[in-house]
Amino acid sequence: MTDQIETAASLMVRDYLILAFLVSLGALQIAVSISGIRGLWLLPNQLLTRALGILLIGVGITTYILSPLWVEGPWAAGSVADGTSAGREWGTATINEVSAARNINDIHGGMAGTAYAIVFLLAAVLATTFAAILGTLNVRISNSPTLSRGSEGDQHDPPSFRRGLGGGHNDPPTSRKAPGGGHNNPPSSRKAPAGDHNNPPSSRKEPGGDHNNPPSSRRAPAGDHNNPPSFRRGLGGGPTDGLDALKHTDAISTFASSSRNLIRTAKSDANEHMSTTHLWSVPSLIARMWRN
């Protein structure tokens, strides 16, 4: 009996993980199709991405509810009764029992509330990772010269997106001109990636399209020639950092350059902190007192 409960519990966890993964992935696709975060799209088209999201949610829930019809579990025909989940037998359910088949108390092999929460979190992380990997491939494929020519008519593709991605650091100079350009950007802002030492100072200020940011947030910190321009402006401060960057580049490039940027910023912050805090250390206070 204990063995059956354990087997039932592992079956429930596995099935719920698949359900939560499909639903999370579907919800993610709908969300990123609304926000335009192309780096997480599974398909190259916005409407198709949204339709895929709805389809994934529908398929996930339907499969989860109906699978007792063909998957053996603690819901054998005749053993699923209202009012209790004890005494279930192993087998497949009938259509009349399918609605109650997965309603199992956690002491009889079902899942506890905490288990649901943990499995959902795991599924959400997996779904995001999956979307990031497939989105990267999708972006790089659709960014290849032949395919990008074919999708010129797609109004959802900002020009910079088609150019900037796949190339990364080895792009010729022309392809580096447009890292932050959406439809709202003035042409001048597309020419100047922030922090690029080859550009005149005036062009360093405005790489992206968010006009709500104060000028200070648009300024470029020390230019890192290995990072895409949108990540040279510091931790989370710029309009094309974070998920915004995924509108223009792919997830793997974003994560790599963001992590480098984070470490560099943290190091410079720490150095700056150390260089100022020593003024208030005990020896320096004594020294200043002595001098005075």
């Binding site: 359900l19 919800a27 959902f120």
Partner: protein, 186 residues
């Protein structure tokens, strides 16, 4: 138990009720919504607002569970199927934890209220979903109406507590979001 008295009137509705009342469907739907709104903002300001909503809802879930645990340890109300016996038509399994307050309702209302604080439209939709979930849970016989009302109140209060905490400790969630943005996931 007037609501539960309708059980058996429509077998099709009973099947739907068993699925809607389940532990997996509605909590998953609500969780998927707070996961999705993390990514849904079209610009930086909108995304910050929605991501704050996700953090608010998650914090509210934690607070509501804490409150429910405290009440459960102090007051063990029996389930309606234990008290009413055969006069109740139970079409769900026999839960073994205390009936008041309804933990699932506390969780879904905490999420709904947490989202409502940043987006009224999505928040009202979730509130409606949470209300349907509550009625269905009473319909299948696992809770008294006062259990689900108590759970809903705890959920709403938890979200408000979370909101006050966020206002009080504003730099912390902001820093957290900035950090996540720094590594490209916010």
């Amino acid at each position: 138990m007037w609501i539960n008295g309708f059980v058996g009137t429509s077998p099709t509705f009973d099947h739907i009720a068993r699925i809607v009342a389940s532990d997996y469907l509605m909590p998953l739907a609500f969780s998927a919504v707070i996961f999705a709104i993390w990514f849904v903002g079209r610009n930086l300001a909108e995304r910050r607002r929605y991501q704050r909503g996700t953090l608010l809802a998650a914090t509210a879930i934690g607070i509501s569970n804490l409150i429910v645990d405290i009440i459960d340890s102090a007051y063990d109300r029996q389930r309606p199927f234990d008290e009413l016996g055969d006069s109740l038509q139970l079409i769900f399994y026999r839960s073994t934890d205390p009936s008041f307050p309804a933990n699932p309702m506390a969780v879904v209302f905490a999420i709904a209220m947490g989202v409502w604080l940043v987006d009224r439209r999505i928040g009202w939709t979730l509130m409606a979903g949470a209300a349907i979930y509550s009625v269905i849970r009473v319909y299948v016989g696992t809770f008294y109406p006062t259990d689900v009302i108590g759970g809903a109140v705890i959920g709403v209060i938890s979200a408000l507590i979370a909101w006050f905490l966020f206002e009080l400790l504003k730099p912390i969630p902001e820093l957290f979001l900035r950090l996540l943005r720094g590594i490209g996931i916010a």
